[in-house]
Structure formats: structure tokens, C-alpha cells
Symmetry: C2
Subunit: 472 residues, 2 copies
Amino acid sequence: MTPDEFRQAGYAVVDWIADYWTTLDERPVTPQDPPGAVAARLPAGPPTHGEPVEAVLADLDSLVTPGLTHWQHPGFFGFFPANTSGPSVLGDMVSSGLGVQGMLWATGPACTEMETVLLDWLADLMDLPQRFRSTGPGGGVIQDSASSATLVATLVAVHRAAAGRWRQVGVDRRYRVYTSTEGHSSVEKAARIAGLGADGVRLIEVDPDTRAMSAEALRAAIEADIAAGVTPALVVATVGTTSTTAVDPLPQIGPICAEHGVFLHVDAAYAGSAAVCPELRFGHEGLEYADSYCFDPHKWLLTGFDCDAFWVADAGELVEALTVLPEYLRNAATESGAVIDYRDWQVPLGRRFRALKLWFVLRWYGVEGLREHIRSGVALAARFADRVRADDRFELVGPHPYALVCFRLRGADEPNERLLAAVNATGRIYLTHTRVAGRHTLRLAVGAPQTTKVHVDEAWELISQAALPAAD
Amino acid sequence: MTPDEFRQAGYAVVDWIADYWTTLDERPVTPQDPPGAVAARLPAGPPTHGEPVEAVLADLDSLVTPGLTHWQHPGFFGFFPANTSGPSVLGDMVSSGLGVQGMLWATGPACTEMETVLLDWLADLMDLPQRFRSTGPGGGVIQDSASSATLVATLVAVHRAAAGRWRQVGVDRRYRVYTSTEGHSSVEKAARIAGLGADGVRLIEVDPDTRAMSAEALRAAIEADIAAGVTPALVVATVGTTSTTAVDPLPQIGPICAEHGVFLHVDAAYAGSAAVCPELRFGHEGLEYADSYCFDPHKWLLTGFDCDAFWVADAGELVEALTVLPEYLRNAATESGAVIDYRDWQVPLGRRFRALKLWFVLRWYGVEGLREHIRSGVALAARFADRVRADDRFELVGPHPYALVCFRLRGADEPNERLLAAVNATGRIYLTHTRVAGRHTLRLAVGAPQTTKVHVDEAWELISQAALPAAD
């Protein structure tokens, strides 16, 4: 494809995306097709000779988009949001066009340096502790996801626990990882990958009301393990759990980790974005105890997947844990020690220029624009929670400190399951569920960029109507 | 950003990329700035209020691109190529615009199904063994990189070796991983991550001429380990090693793995793409013994990073090794068992719609277009090798079965190091190096889409001229 062919086809794709966003509200949020429907519509193989882009775009409309769950739909309230935005798409386009491989500083100096600078920008913007800035021994990096950040934290933690022997001799299965019963599934997955198994994970009980980790229970578990001759290696605390956005008490958890030399990773995958607003930084109290911290701009900060921002207080320890240096990657800049090679901060070797999309987003929206986006979500969630609170058939499940509202019909699970299925079948909105203290609970997470109060009110209307038979 | 604002800014970014590609040849391939130059040019923080895209594009030109190594430059011959192309950029734009999160089938049915179908297309196109098709117990998935594919293969291998107990109790440090002394550094990194440590990796000697793994040495190592009471878990064979594109002998390695029940992963990260041409499939002989296989369309098949195509013969075993199912991800489709949830095929939970860029590439170029790209690279490498062969000052180092030529000035290392530094300092071309049997060796890898014989001839001219003083 020549640059001029790209120019013409590129305009068409830009138009396609703009039209898609314009028509999102008219589409069903989720498809109703059974499994296999899209696969059956695709041909058996690629064409022998090339086809024009128009043919591909036509198939995109007829074969692909009808089979999608539309995460950017204003009626998408499932899971957590997975924001994208115009400037994010543009920044990522530039990254795709440059095709730079940023594994080493030397293979893309600007790719590396902009990432370091932007992670410092973000740390400032969110008022993160000084220890995470690149001006000291710490620093930030973009991971693909919070799951990968948790894995990297786990690896550094076992490296530290083994006083450096882990790289050579492998992992000691007596190391233990602690997270709350509400911690993300990636903690167990990371422990499994690192060779600790499910036996290596201790799930710490939570406060029955707030669903936040009990610091007393954590202390008891750590001390019991030490007495039993096993080694506490890592605590993963959560700011904004996936199920209900509970906030673990860092001011109590931090000192326990410090006392016992346990690595503390703080997972704020969803809720971290809120900290761009000064009034929403309460979850970060005590963060100065953390050895590492992450949040996902790709969830709620208008930056497309994949973009997890991950900071460590001691970058030297991280690099020591993960570096492998074969001859074909040796270069003068690396040997000078004056540069960052981000391949040593992550699991994969290769990396794309992801800082660009973050740069476009930060510059287009500015600090105030990002705050407006977050505040809008929080206000819309509060608006929805008010509706729930005012209706005796329903109950709110726990607090809603950010933009997720957990709620349910009072009473048994089954009417709640039917309610969820019924509202999702309308195609107008999409909600998901969780279990809180064993009870089936609906989750409404606000955050898609196009969602306004019209959509939240419509969501309530649909839920309220669908609940009528259940209330009879 | 409204859809109409996106439309206008999108055209400008498309133009920017087209102009960048048009002017690549005029730019120095690598920057000469010292570390910190780009960071020093960036402001201290994001703007308070948003800025227009034009301002960002202007800064891209003045602050960023002068600090890049240009991987798409026609004079880029370093490492392996990291192809991008017009259709790949377009497909990835659509993915960014859709912002679909494909972690579960239910969260993006078309995202999942297209990926399954396209990996079958690729398997057909490359004539991979039937066992990797989704029509049987096997199937394909897109990983971010071959490093991650190696890690996933390592995890499945230890899961198999432990007969299922690994998930619960953790890894047994008596498991062993085998690769050749020329195997990729990601094998050691994966073993470290999995908790086996460097002690868990056996580097098998290679044939001194071909640099391919010695099957006899592999057998001896496996049998010695078994006799010593440790357990061979994984062999990683390489088709096209990073250093010299050596091809390990699968027809001999495969039966050894089968005999001892060892998981065989084949890493064809770079060279796999060549198999789109029937005459370049020699490296895949014996691939029917493999339990898993990967190659990177993002290296040499015109598809931008990240896109590693990874297949397994037994998807059930893979999912069993990696799945974790919290309540908030439960859904009817998953429970039906009729769908693929690709989150269980990889380390992270989240995933973007990466099949789209592959779809745009396969359809725009067609089978014949892709073959033409590969054949062009192979022919240009052969052309360069002919120049080297005809000049008595130089020697070729090993065969060049694909599009990488390894060569050196006869004699000591130091003149070779000076030669490399001198030609790279011209800014016209960029080569990297390796060590072969301890000797400093230059690598010229053809593969950037804009590279033609003019550029290869210029490369030879520059190298030949720069070598003159050394030959005095």
C-alpha cells in the first residue's frame, strides 16, 4: 500500500469510526446471535489476490459489528468501562504508523523517554508519593494490563524474599501471597504462574459492610505463617475492588508489611483514575507504604486498551529480577547505565510506543478535561443510586465511592437473575453481576464517554419496569 | 472529542503518517542525541486545559520523531524487521475505535470468533499440521509476543509434568527446560518467571557450522537428567534463531520429546512468516511433533506489533493450566462450554481486537501479495550475500536461509566493531551484531516494506567503503 493509497483508505476508515461512534446509540449493546454465528459468516480462507479496503469495510459492517458487544455504547454499564476516545485513537494511529519497537532505549529513545516523562506527569497529576517518580530510585512504566502488573510485582516480591537466589535456583514454594477475598483473580493467576500455586495464596477476610480487607486478619495470617515457618512475600491491596469498589485500608496494611519486610503492591486498576480529582484521592491514603502501584488509564481515563500505568519505588530491584541480556541486545547505551531499557520492566521483550496515546489524551483533554470526565461518571452513578435508594423494592449493596453502583431487589437471588437477563435482553443497556456475601447482586458501572443522564435515567426506567413482575 | 472533531483531526493524522512514510528515506535511521535529550525537550507536566491536535502533531515533529530509531526506514537492517503496513494501521485503527474488550467470548463474540477463524486461515496458508486447527482439539490465539508464547508453553509444560498438581501446590524445581545455546533469551526468562530459575534450563550444544541444536546432545541431556531424578518438562526448538536464523532439526528432536513425554514448543518468531511461500517451508519439517508453535506476523508479515500467532495441539490442557473464574466473569456462554474465552489462553485478562489488523493485511495483500513480500526479502538478502561472498576481505558466517545475512571482516573482532559503528554513524543504514562461536559478527536483516535493491546496494557500498581502512 503506497502512502497515497493509505491516505485515501485512511480517510475512509476515519469516517467509518466517526460514523460508528455517531450511530452507537442506535445499536443493540450486545448481540443475540448464538456462538458460531460470526465464524459461519466468514469465508474459509484469505483471498489469493488482494482486495480493496472498501470491500473490507463493507464486511466489517455486515459480518463483524453485528456480532460485537459495544463497549463504547452509552448504555454499556457492565464490568468496568474500557474507555477509548478520539485523541487516544489518534495517538495509537501514530504509534502504529511509526512501527517503533521500544524494547531498549537504543531501539527508540523517544519512545522510552516520553514514557518515563509521562508516567511522571501522571504521578504528579494524581499526587502519587514522591518515591514513584523517576527523579529518584523509582519510576513508572506502561504494562499491558493490571494482571501483568500484579505478575511483575509478584516476581519482584519473590526475588526480594529470596535475597537474590530466586533467579538462579527458582521459587521457594513456602512463599506466601496475601490479598483479600475480594482481591482480583489475577493475584491467584500470578501466584500460579510464579510457581506458588493456589496453596501459596492466603485470602484475607473482609469487613462485612465495606468489603475492605481486615488489617487485623492480615496481621494474624502473616504472623501465623511466620510461626509455621513459611515466608510472607507479597501483599496485594486493592483500591476499588472489581466486585464492589471496596478500598483496602492502606494506612493499617502498610505498617504491617513494613514491619515484616513484605512487598506491598497496590492494585487500583479501576479506581486509580479517580485520583486525577483532588476530592477523590481518599483511596490513596497510606500509598507511601507501597512498593508498587498500578492503575489502568484504559479503564476510566479515556485511553484505549492496552495502557496500565505501573510504578515501583525501587526500579533497580525490578530490573535485577527480570533482566536477561543476550549478545544481540547488547549496546553502548545499555552498558553506560544511563538509560532505561523497558524490556527489563515487563514480561515480554517487544513493546509498542504506547505513551503516544496517553500523550494525545493528556494534551487534548488537559487536566481539567480529565477531571470533568471522572466527575461526570461519579455524579451519574450517584444519580442512579438515588433512584435505587428511593425505591423500596431495591437495596443498595455497600457504598459507591466511585462510579459503580451495586444493588439488588430485596429478597431472593432468582428474581435478580431474571431482572438482569430481562434488561440485558432489551439491547438498550448492558449490566453485569457479582456476588456480595453470597447474594446475587447487580452492578451498574458508569464510564463510557458518551453516557449522559439520559442514558442513566433510561437504565433506571428499564430496570424499574422489568422489576415490576418480580415485585408482584 | 466529538465524532466530527475526530473526523477532521483523523484526516490530519492520516496525512501525517503518509507524509512520514514518504519522507522516511530522507531521515537518519537512528538519532545521535545523548540519553535524556527527548525528556529535556518535553514540558514538566500536562496542560491544565486541552490543546488542539495540530499542536500535538507539531510537537511530534519537533520533539519526538528526531529522537526515534526508524524501524520502517528502508535502511533499517537491525535485529529482525518489525513490519507495519498501511492495511495493518487501518485494521488497528478500527480496533482502537471499537474499543472492544475481548477477554471473554461474551464480551465480544466477533472479536473471539474472527481470531479463531483467522488463525485457521494462517495455519492453512502456512500448511501447518492439522493438529493446530480449531476443528479438532487444538487451536490458535494471538499473543502479544513470542516471549509470552514461550511463557505460556512453559506453564502448560509444567502443568502437564505435574499431572495437574501444579495449579494447587506450585512448581517443582526439579523440572527442566531445554533449548539450544542459540535459543532465545525468553526461554530463560520464562523459566525464571515460572519459578524454575536458571538452574532449570539446560542449554544444548549446537552444530558448529549450522548453529542448529544437536539432537544427540539433547537426548543425552534428557537421559542424564532422568537418571539423576529430575524431570524433563519442556523442549523449546527454534526455527530461525535470533542470532543467525539457524533451524533446529525437528524430525530428530520431535521423536525424543515423544519418547520421554516432554512438551515440545517450536519458536519460529521470525522465520515462521516465510512459510507462506511453499518453497520456504523446510524449517517446518517435523512440526507435527510439536505441542505448540508460534511465529510473529509483527516481524516479517506486514502486521504491526503486537501480533504473535500461537497454536497449541491441545487447547483443553492450556485452558486447564491458566483458567481462574471469579464470579464477576461468570456468564451463560462460558458455562455452556460452546465458546472460547481467550483470557484463558494468555497471561493478562484483557485483550484488544488484534485479529482486525491481521484481517486487513490478509485481505489487502492476499496470499500472493504476502508471498511477494517474503520473496523480495529473501532475494535482497541473497543479493547482499553475493556481494559479501565476492569480496575477499569479508566472510559469510553460516547459511542465510531466510532474509538475514551474517558476515564479518576476516580476522579480529575489533575492526568489525569499528565497521559497525562507522556505518551506523552515517545515519543511512542501521545494522546490529551478534557473536557466533565467540566472534563479533554483523547482522543485516532485510524486511522493512520500503527496502529495495537500491537500499541493499547502498548498504553494501557503505560497508565496503567503511571497511577500507581496516583492510589496509
